[in-house]
């Protein structure tokens, strides 16, 4: 699990003021190089360990789910943490992405001349189909995001929560009954979509995770990201300073849906079965819990808590009947003692940490450092 922490990219620290005295700095280019090297190293070592059997099949399967939930949590974090809204329909986007990606790949397999076996072997045609399928899944989810986002984002707070909840429920019911409407077997209805080729593995899951994190991070650091953050901090002030709030709210929501769709696509390939019943209200809550536990607005927080909460029930398997109790107790303890989430809005930046070390700014030297901005 050590490597997981290293794959982080430098991320926004919302408005932490820095002293303006001359200090050693690491240029942006160098930061990217350091991070890229670490990420490639992480992927290479991980993939080698999976290949060698040092990470067993069971652990690989759990790790893939960790990757999927990282994407889900980080994508929801765009809407909750950065945009400051409370959508409860993230599982809906996940199922749209999952179904459309899986159906697309299954229907396109003959056209690409790809068999089930090719996905395991990782032939170029299969990889291409995988990429197209995932993007297709993401785009379908994003389209749903536009449809849902435009009316939903006129509302705030609990009203938005209820309306997104309703839309996710609509998506679930559509998945359940669409076969009867279109007249041929598309989603498989209640019995679910079965026979999805297992097109995910450790390597491609985590490559997608890294790309998703990178894209979300760079977007949040850009002009668009700052506009989104300004809406969270004060919508009226943002609008008064010329930020097109409707546009940026919808944008954040759609990007959130897009990556949820990507996560759903990976999920379909990882499990091999999609059933509408699995994408109900509880799935949305599960993802929301990850975001809240990690700290809303902290990408590292989402990554860590998604990892933690996915591994925890599996790691506690030895305690059989008590494991779900422990899971709940952990959540309660965190919320009592750290209501802002494990990391609050703090975000990790390897570049900044290295800079601090280069400047000998250690946390124990100055107790009042910028560690806790609340």
């Amino acid at each position: 699990m050590e490597e997981l922490k290293n794959e982080e990219k430098p991320i926004i620290t919302a408005g932490a003021p820095k002293g303006s005295r001359p200090r050693k700095t690491i240029s942006v280019g160098k930061r990217y190089i350091i991070n890229t090297v670490l990420v490639v190293l992480f992927l290479a070592i991980g993939d080698m360990m999976v290949g060698q059997g040092i990470i067993t099949r069971y652990q690989t399967s759990v790790l893939e789910q960790v990757g999927i939930y990282i994407i889900m949590a980080v994508s929801l974090n765009i809407a909750t943490g950065y945009l400051g809204q409370l959508p409860l329909g993230h599982a809906g986007f996940m199922s749209v992405g999952g179904y459309s990606c899986a159906i697309f790949i299954m229907r396109m397999m003959p056209a690409f001349g790809v068999t089930m076996r090719d996905f395991v072997l990782g032939t170029p045609a299969a990889s291409l189909l995988f990429v197209i399928g995932l993007v297709f899944g993401g785009i379908c989810a994003a389209i749903c995001g536009v449809i849902i986002g435009i009316p939903a984002l006129r509302l705030k707070g609990d009203y938005l929560a209820i309306i997104t909840l309703g839309f996710a429920e609509i998506i679930r019911v559509v998945m359940l009954n669409i076969d009867g409407v279109v007249g041929f077997e598309l989603t498989g209805g209640a019995k679910g979509l079965t026979g999805i080729p297992s097109y995910t593995n450790f390597l491609n899951t985590f490559v997608v995770v890294v790309i998703s994190l990178f894209l979300i991070h760079t977007m949040m650091k850009s002009r668009h990201g700052r506009a989104i953050l300004s809406i969270r901090d004060n919508e009226i002030a943002a609008e008064a300073s010329g930020v097109n709030t409707t546009y940026y709210k919808t944008l954040a929501f759609v990007v959130s849906a897009f990556f949820a769709g990507i996560g759903g696509g990976l999920y379909a390939g990882c499990i091999g079965v999609m059933a509408p019943a699995k994408f109900g209200f509880m799935k949305s809550i599960e993802i929301l819990v990850m975001v809240v536990l990690g700290g809303m607005g902290s990408m590292l927080g989402s990554v860590l808590s998604a990892t933690f909460l996915t591994i925890l029930p599996e790691a506690l398997r030895a305690f059989a009947d008590y494991r779900m109790v422990v899971y709940a107790v952990v959540l309660i303890l965190v919320m009592i003692f750290r209501p802002q989430g494990l990391l609050g809005t703090y975000d990790f930046s390897l570049g900044n940490v290295l800079e601090k070390i280069a400047n000998r700014e250690f946390p124990w030297k100055k107790s009042a450092s910028a560690e806790e901005v609340e």
Binding site: Y58, K191, G195, C270, V273, E314, R317, F337
Partner: protein, 399 residues
């Protein structure tokens, strides 16, 4: 301030405890797993048993687990396999979730089990079946009725019959009873309910019965009066309600309240509608209704009565259809394991292959009837049609 510090310390302590527990269990999880060929040469043979033991569908998982555990216990009590090996069960909860089921399956493969009894509900079972094909792992489900379960490879078998089979059977029965007009009411969110309903409607139409209306409801509904009013307006001879007993009980009771006097037909989800943990409908309301099942306490077959006695002695409660199917699933797998163990196998892979071959041509005298596999993973077995008379279940006919 003091208060603040103590809170922080407590938080740190609880964090450390949680981390310690996690690490400890990770280590314990990593500890096992060695050479796979040792799996068949040791003193015990490992058999996996998976199902939902917590969550929404736990009642089915627990019932199957009770049945399967009872058989394994009896098997070991008799001295295990003919060469004296005992069976040790690797039991894992999957909460009725496909994701967890796949994880559990991978874990069992690492434990080098020689076969798996599971899974219980349809979607997780299909997920496991798809995964297991690559390992050629013998898989015997007690209760996954979805047709797709056996589609992926020759390694998957079931002790129960499929949804379409039951739907077809009840349509045959309806024709035989001379019904002219039938209606259905089913849970559109359940694969089992929808599977039976669709097959019934298809077969009924083929047989020349008029299907006046198909009413559906959503998972979790408790009021069925609107749908039932539509059905009663069509004046059907019989109504098919192929749902689980909790819903069926309410449907029957509410229909009688609305004045419907006709017959209800059900599938094996009806088992336990009366005489189980509680009565879901009164005997008076159920008078003249029929359902199909493979196991019923009223069966005076010697094996069935012996099973009921043993089960009662072990668990102090009455066995249900799922318990009996769990018992039979364990019997199917262990009988084959026993035979292969006696005949000998080259290595672990060969052992699994031979278990699959043996199950495929075996004939098992189970408590849910004589089970034989004719080339597919679907069993060929007799089915009981159960009727209600004077508030009691009786066997109307065997089909």
């Amino acid at each position: 301030m003091a208060n603040n510090i103590s809170r922080r310390d407590l938080f740190k302590a609880s964090g450390a405890t949680a981390l310690g527990l996690g690490v400890a269990s990770l280590i314990s999880a990593c500890g096992s797993g060695s050479g796979s060929d040792a799996a068949i040469s040791g003193k015990t043979l490992k058999v996996g048993l998976m199902g939902p033991y917590s969550g929404d569908v736990a009642q089915y998982g627990l019932a199957v687990r009770n049945g399967a555990k009872l058989y394994v216990k009896q098997f070991n009590k008799k001295g295990g396999t003919k060469s004296g090996k005992k069976i040790s069960l690797v039991v894992q909860d999957e909460k009725g979730d496909a994701t967890e089921a796949v994880n559990v399956y991978q874990k069992m493969v690492e434990d080098n089990v020689v076969g798996i009894i599971g899974d219980v509900t349809s979607t997780p079972s299909i997920a496991v079946a798809q995964e297991s094909v690559n390992d050629n792992m013998p898989l015997v489900t007690a209760s996954a009725t979805a047709a797709d379960f056996i589609k992926y490879g020759k390694n998957a078998f079931r002790a129960c019959y499929t949804d379409p089979y039951q739907g077809k059977l009840m349509a045959d029965f309806a024709k035989k009873q001379g019904y002219k007009t039938v209606c259905t009411i089913y849970n559109s969110g359940g694969d089992y309910e929808k599977g039976v309903n669709d097959a019934f409607v298809k077969e009924a139409k083929k047989k020349g019965l008029a299907v006046a209306t198909q009413e559906s409801y959503s998972q979790g509904d408790v009021d069925f009066k609107a749908q039932l009013a539509n059905i009663i307006a069509k004046k059907p001879d019989a109504v098919l309600s192929p749902n689980y007993y909790q819903d069926d009980g309410k449907i029957v009771t509410q229909a009688r309240e609305l004045g419907y006097k006709g017959v209800f037909l059900g599938a094996d989800g009806w088992a336990n509608i009366v005489g189980g943990d509680e009565d879901y409908a009164s005997g008076k309301d159920l008078e003249g209704c029929f359902y199909d099942t493979s196991f019923v306490s009223a069966n005076d077959d010697e094996r069935v009565q012996q099973f009921i006695k043993d089960y009662k002695a072990e668990y102090k409660s009455d066995p249900t259809n799922f318990c009996a199917l769990g018992y039979d699933a364990a019997k199917i797998l262990l009988t084959a394991v026993d035979k292969v163990d006696k005949a000998g196998a080259k290595d672990y892979e060969d052992f699994k292959q031979k278990v699959i071959d043996t199950i495929a041509k075996d004939k098992i005298e189970g408590v849910t009837g004589t089970i034989k596999f004719a080339g597919t993973g679907d069993p060929v077995k007799s089915t009981l049609i159960i009727g209600f008379k004077d508030g009691k279940e009786y066997i109307e006919t065997t089909m």
